[in-house]
């Protein structure tokens, strides 16, 4: 799985990490029953605090995407399979926005407005 963060982005790091993992679930790169990498390993590789990684994992647990079990780490739940339709819809959405010449911010604003309505 690919985890990426941009320290210059205004989005909190743990939100960025969680978004990376959701994206992997959407693309099918993350399978049901798979274990997320150890928080320590991710933190060391990205040079961030281990609590930031754990906070991202906790956020995903609250969403039901992973199960956190002592000694077993973070295990991907059956919910990951349901993310795939979302993973298919988003590229279509982005493609359409690009065709219309909309910026990422403009598309995000549209999606946010729809979500909150």
């Amino acid at each position: 799985m690919l985890l990426r963060i941009d320290p210059l982005s205004p989005v909190p790091l743990f939100e960025q990490l969680a978004a990376s993992i959701r994206a992997d679930a959407g693309s099918g790169a993350l399978r049901v029953g798979e274990r997320l990498p150890a928080a320590r390993e991710v933190a060391a590789a990205l040079d961030i605090n281990v609590h930031t990684v754990l906070r991202a994992y906790q956020l995903l647990r609250d969403e039901g995407l992973v199960d956190l079990r002592r000694g077993r780490g973070a295990v991907v739940t059956a919910r990951a399979g349901e993310y795939s339709s979302l993973g298919l819809a988003i590229p279509q959405l982005v493609e359409e926005a690009k065709r219309l010449g909309l910026s990422a911010a403009a598309l995000t604003a549209l999606v946010t407005k729809e979500y909150l309505s």
Partner: protein, 327 residues
Amino acid sequence: MTRSALLFRLLTVAVLLPLAIGAIAVVVMVGWLPGAPSAVIVHWGVDANQTGSPSLYPTLVAIVVPGLAVIFGILIGLTVRAGKPSPHQKLLAAVSFSESLLISGLSVALLGIQRQPGPNQVIDNPTGVVVAGVVVAAALGVGAWFALPPASAGVRAGAGVPARPLPLAGGERAVWIHRATTPTALVVLLVGVLLVVAAGAAVGILIAGPVAWIVVVLPVLIIVMLATTIHWNVRVDDSGLTASGALGFPRFHVPLADVRSASVVNVNPLVDFGGWGIRRGMNRRFGLVTRSGEALEVLRTDGRAFVVTVDDAAGAAALLAALVARV
């Protein structure tokens, strides 16, 4: 060369000739049985030699030679394709030929020496006979290698299409982590083999007592090797590529500075690496091989290649390419 023609050449050396050699040896030895002593030495030990019926010699050859020939034949048959044989296929065929010669030849020689009753100096210490047998069998094995068609050059290092870099923003940090796993069926097979070895060790300890330390050390060594090599944790980050065994060791690392390019390749374990595990393949390719199929290949600046069979190899290759481009 067509697949069937090549298969015939390889199996002639690996199966047909060993079967013929074994059959001749059995016929010769069975012919000696009526006039042979009722007990001959069948096992040479440090403390004492064991005796047994002379019929044990042809029985051993009749079981072991065809058994090994069939195993070698299956290993070859599974991997042969049209074209040139791989060096591993040639090696398997030559070893099968050589090993059947050695077993058959030594059995005939050792039984032949004991055919006449009475004391015999050679049979008390047959080291010379065994050494001579090994040398002759090895020489004929080398001959078998050269009698087979020339080997293919194999997959060259860096044969894959270099991955396009993943788009990364200037300050963006990324890590790719995945586990390279061995298929469950293969693990079950390995555990089965291990249980057989452990049972053998238990029997060995019961018979020989604690003197047989080697039979205890061997299964323990195999357990450690299996436990460390059936899963690999593979990571790509700004330090390069790291693969560590299930227990954290052994650890293999390709620094980012040594990476020329990364690509996705298809691995056939027996053809490309001669098997599974930590492998040295042809053409300076080093492999961590847990299954067949998709693999990440990293071409190093010195021309060597590091291969690991892992899912989403494309993701790993793209990130490596991006990190290399950024340095």
